[in-house]
Each structure stands twice: as structure tokens, then as C-alpha cells.
Amino acid sequence: MKKNLKKTLALVMAATLVAASFAACGSKEKEEGGDKPTVSKENTNWEGAEKAAELEGKLTYMHSGDDYEREMYANVFKSYMEYAPNVEVEQMYVPSDYDTKLKTLAAAGNLPDLFWSGEAGIRAYNEAGMLSDLTGYLEEYPQLTEGILDGVLDFGNFDGKQVAFPKDWTSYVMYLNLDMFKEAGVEVPTNDWTIDEYKDLAAKLTKKSGDRVDVYGTAINNYRADWVNWMGNYGAEWFKDGKSNISSPEALQGLKLMSDLIEAGSAPSPGSVSSTGESEDRLFIIGKVAMYPSGRWVIPSFRSEVDFEWDAREMPQGTTRTCPFICSMVCIADTSENKDAAANLLSYQMSDEGLALVMESALSLPAYSDLMENENYVNTPPSADAFINSSKYLGNASQLEASKTGKWSEYSSIITAHLSDAFEGKISIEEAVEKIDEQANSTVFN
């Protein structure tokens, strides 16, 4: 018995090795073929090409994400090095615990030349004097800011100094299961729908058998994008004068929409892990949710896994409209010895050519208005209108102010905790917002 087991294991092991080597060949073929835009130095429209040829040195670029993103950026660096043969770009890909690693490196004074940071994390690095001022480079490379979306630079701008650059953005839209609309005989909403219509639709699309809900009309995430969006669509100033103001009537109205949907049975109570949106994504994919709010990042998995007709619409409007800003920003370390080369690489990454390599995956959106209209950068399905329209009201004053306090993550964990109690029905939403303001203003923003 024991001997057999051992033999089986050895066989499995051997099979794995063989399979692995075959697969390695397969992936190489994929790289060579494909219809990716090819680099051509002669007719490029990238302004930094000439300078790139003169630069030399070594750059380290640190980023997070999954293996797809690693491959995507490996391609960006490879094509950059064709322009800059004397610059060696070392890709430092961090598969998990990115922020822990970044802080450890920073504490050790060992920051890579270029690195990513979430929009709310930048202040701390800036105050420690660890970030280069990019303002001069924005003048040197005018294409960097030409046609850039309104407001996206603000998150990386401290006291008039641009210390971080938004590499892309991700809108927040409502994904629709069109088959369910057809089945229920309900008309598919247009982009100018309102929150009231959304509530109605959510109730209509909910299917129950007895007490049990088979299909939910919609879903919510206990996640910052949802909060910012719903509060913002009622024009709430939920963060004001350095204080949490979530108990203001407009903010409450926005959050109450979320708890009302749960109470009405139109949306499942979100798990606390939905701070990543992950489990709720699944509900849409398996056809248990008809309308699902999320960012552009879900599109690759929806495309490969969803087996019904689906599309995206703008988030329904309340008294106004807002779109949360969620993004990784690129920073250049102040300790970098090759800042010119680093800026040149950044300019390439943000060029039409560099972005083409990244946007093909549909994980995020380009931060430039001309590229937003270009279907090579904002590819379909789903239809691009929702994304294009939302770029016009991107950014939320309260989110900007709260992010730039540098205490966002602590603040957001307080919001998550009390809202989850409210969504579970342990406390009312009115109590929850009071508790959030009280706790945040006495412990975080005191």
C-alpha cells in the first residue's frame, strides 16, 4: 500500500515536471504572436523617445498585482528598453503584502526608483520627504498632462507639488445581467436613470420562492467605492474641515439606500470580506444578482466566466453624480540616483504606446480624455459610454480631503466595522453613522 502510494506520487511529480516544461513552451509562442501594437522608433508619437536614447543607468520599478499585471508591465519595460538601450529596468514584482513591503523598504531607506502607492497612502511618504517633486518633469514632458482627466492629479498634489502621478483609474459603474431583465420583462435602464428607478428595478428583479430569495435585484459592497458613490450622488459633504461628517443628512441618505436595499430583501447583506468586492462579484457571475455595482477591474473575469448577456450603465443619479477615485499612483523616490531616467520611463508608461500595452487587459482605464474615446483603450463589451460619461464627474471633494489626511485606512476600518453591524441588522443605520463620526472624530481626527 505504502509502496504504491509512493509510486503514484512519484508519477504525479514526474507528470507535473513534464507538463510544466510543455506549458513553458506554449506561453512563449503566445508572446511572439498576437496583435499587440508594435514599437517603431521612427514613427512614434512619444515625446521622450529622443531623450531615452541618451539616458543610461539602472532603474528599479516596484509594483503589485497578479501575474497578468506582472506580464503586462514586463512588456512595457521591454519595449521601453528598445528606446533606451542603455537603461536597464529591473522589475520588482510584489505578489502579496505590497504595503508592508513598501513601508519596510521605506523604513530602511531602500525605496526603489519607481514604485506604486494607493491614493490614500501618499501623504505619509511625502511628509517624510521620500518623494521627488515631479512638477519639473510635467513641464519637460507636456504629453503627461495633455488632456488628462479633471481632478486626477489632485490626489498626488501636496502644497502645489506633484509628488505622485495617477497611472490609470477605474470607474465605478453598474453591471447588468440583461437576460434577467428580459426574463422579468423589464426595460433595461439608460444611463440617465435615477436612484428611485434603481430601487424599483431592484425590487422587481428580485425573485423569491417562499421566504427564500433565489435572485437578488442588486448587491452592495461594504467598500469605499460604494460609500463614496452613494453619499456623493446625494451631494453629501461627508468629510469636512478635517472631520468625519457621515451623520450629515445627505450622507445618511446615501448610506441608508444601501441598508434599505438589504432590508427590502433586494440585496444580500454583504460579507465583511466584500471590502475587496470579491464574494459579491461571484454572485453576479453565477446569476444570483441582476445589477451589480463595481469597478472596471471585474471585466476580465466577467468576460471569461459570465454566460449570459451583460452590459454596464452609469451609477444611477441622485441629486447629483460623483465617481469615486480608486487608483495606484506612481512615485519616484527622492533617493533615486537616476531621476531623469525614472521620469522618462514614467513618461513612456503614460504615453499612448505604453498605455496601449496596459489597457488591452481592461483592468483599468486611461486617465486621458482622448484615449477614453478610443476603443483600443476602452474596449468592449461592455459598452464604453458608462465609463466615458463617468470620467466627466470623476472625483469627490470629501474623498479627496479624507484621502489626503493620511489617515484614510484607519478611518475606513471604522466605517467598515459600524456599517457591517448596520447591514447585519444589529444596529440601525442612523446609529451606525453617529458611532462612526463619534469614534473617528475622537480617535482619528482629534
Binding site: K2, L5, K6, L9, V12, M13, T16, L17, A19, A20, S21, F22, A23, A24, G26, S27, T60, S64, G65, D66, D67, E69, R70, A74, E90, Q91, M92, Y93, V94, P95, S96, D97, T100, K101, T104, A107, A108, N110, T276, G277, E278, D281, R282, I285, I286, G287, K288, G295, W297, V298, P300, S301, S304, E305, D307
Partner: protein, 277 residues
């Protein structure tokens, strides 16, 4: 005799019931590794995949800038020296704490124990600074050295085991003028095969499954470990469950082999019966 048979019958029943409980989540993991991402979350769920996707394994093994096999060998470079040296040094220290008398013994031992109670996060940065200043960033040294000279856990475990052995064991040897190194090597080590086997399994697996350490200390992807490779199937928004499950099963194989080899030694010490307790 009959009594013994009956008790063995009940033992078999118990063993099989437990086996089923243990195996259920694990089986779910295995069948999931063969499903397409679409079928994985199908509702109502199906147990067996409608189509067995062996490609999940090849894809999991070939993703990443280096192959799974390379990551596996990288991980061995950490786990093998860490395990071997850890066992030698820990069992020596465990022997000293269990069988030798020296001033401050209890206090020093308490000092080892106390170190177990400090969370890793607290020592992370000072330790990182130290290794970085010595030029060991992006090497395996910071992952091997803290383990190889014995860890409080292993020392504690071997000490507890040595304490259960009868005193008469070394008394005769001491009278004969044997050195303690010889007593340790020739009397104690052969007797504590079970605990050495246990420790091998524990230490190998803890080095092999560590993901936070490598993520912090390793920079270049040519040095990636298996667990880092597995992490790369997730980003902050989505997980490729099909690849994670398939990759994990591939990653399990070496550890299971080590276990199968080692568990044979977790049997009653043969020499024991000769010594009267």
C-alpha cells in the same frame, strides 16, 4: 484477545469517520483544482467537474516569469539547510536544557520561551534593517539564518521529549566516562527518531509555506519561492481560484512526500524496551 479485536474494530470505525471529516474540505479543494473558473462557482454546485481540466495544472505550473519547478528548487534552497541545521542545534540545546545541570538553566530556557510570545510583525523592521545593512537583502540568508541555529519552538519540543526519557539512560554512560556529545549522538538521537521526524516535517513545512518572509526579503523574480508564485494568482480584487487550487496541490506534493518518509519513524523506539523504567 477478543477484547483487543473488538477495540481495534471500533478504532477502525473511528479512524474512518475522522478520515471522512478531514478529507471532505480537502476533496473539495482537489476537485476544484480540475474545474473551470466558470464551473467552480456554478450554483447549485456540482461535486465532480463536468470536464476535467488538467490544463489548470499546466497553467499554474508555467505562469510567472520563472517556472514552478524553478520556484520549487528555490524554495528547497531555503527549506533544506534551515531544516537540517535547525534539528541539529535544537536537539543539542534541548538535550542541554533537559538533561544537563548548569547555572541559570531555567532562566535561560524561559528566555527562549518568551521569544515565542513576541509577534513577528514587531521584529520585522529591526531585523530587516540588520540584514539589509549586512548586504543580505534579496538573498536567502535572512530566511535561513533565523531558523538554522535552532528556534525556541524546536528547542522546547525536543526538551519536552527528552524529559520523558528515563534518567537511567545516560547514568550508566556517564559512569563509563562517555562525553555528553556521545551520549547525545549515540543514545538520545537514535531514541528520539519520532521527535526528529516530527520536527523535520514541521520545520520543512514552515520554511516551505512561509510567504511573508520571502515577500519582504526577495526582490528579483528569479529568486521567487513557491508560495510567492501562488500569491501571484490573486490581486487585491480577484482570485483565480482554479489556479490557486491547482497550484497548491502541486505545491503540496513535496511536503507530503517528506511526511510519508518521516512518518515511518514515528514508531515506538526499539531500544526503549531494553531499558527498565
Amino acid at each position: 484477545m477478543i477484547k483487543k479485536k473488538r477495540s481495534n474494530f471500533f478504532a477502525y470505525v473511528g479512524v474512518i469517520i475522522v478520515a471522512i471529516l478531514v478529507i471532505l474540505p480537502f476533496a473539495w479543494m482537489v476537485v476544484s483544482a480540475f474545474k473551470s473558473q466558470r464551473e467552480l462557482f456554478a450554483f447549485p454546485p456540482t461535486f465532480f467537474p463536468s470536464e476535467w481540466k488538467f490544463e489548470n495544472f499546466t497553467e499554474a505550473a508555467s505562469r510567472g516569469s520563472i517556472s514552478f519547478v524553478q520556484m520549487f528548487f528555490n524554495t528547497l534552497k531555503i527549506a533544506v539547510p534551515a531544516t537540517i541545521f535547525n534539528i541539529i542545534f535544537s536537539s543539542l540545546a534541548g538535550y542541554a536544557f533537559a538533561r544537563l545541570k548548569f547555572p541559570g538553566r531555567e532562566k535561560i530556557f524561559m528566555g527562549f520561551l518568551a521569544a515565542m510570545m513576541v509577534p513577528f510583525v514587531i521584529t520585522l523592521i529591526p531585523r530587516f534593517l540588520m540584514f539589509k545593512d549586512m548586504g543580505f537583502y534579496d538573498t536567502y540568508v535572512p530566511l535561513i539564518v533565523p531558523v538554522m541555529f535552532g528556534t525556541p519552538f524546536s528547542i522546547f519540543l525536543t526538551r519536552q521529549f527528552f524529559m520523558t526519557l528515563p534518567k537511567e539512560l545516560e547514568e550508566a554512560a556517564i559512569v563509563d566516562g562517555c562525553s555528553h556529545v556521545r551520549i547525545w549522538a549515540q543514545i538520545f538521537l537514535p531514541l528520539c527518531k519520532p521527535i526528529i521526524a516530527t520536527l523535520t516535517v514541521f520545520q520543512f513545512q514552515s520554511s516551505y509555506n512561509d510567504f511573508m518572509g520571502p515577500v519582504i526579503y526577495i526582490a528579483s523574480d528569479a529568486k521567487f519561492t513557491v508560495q510567492m508564485g501562488l500569491s501571484s494568482f490573486r490581486n487585491s480584487f480577484t482570485s483565480r481560484y482554479d489556479l490557486i487550487m491547482a497550484g497548491s496541490i502541486l505545491a503540496l506534493i513535496p511536503v507530503v512526500i517528506i511526511f510519508i518518509i518521516c512518518q515511518k519513524y514515528i514508531v515506538r523506539g526499539i531500544a526503549m524496551s531494553g531499558v527498565k523504567g
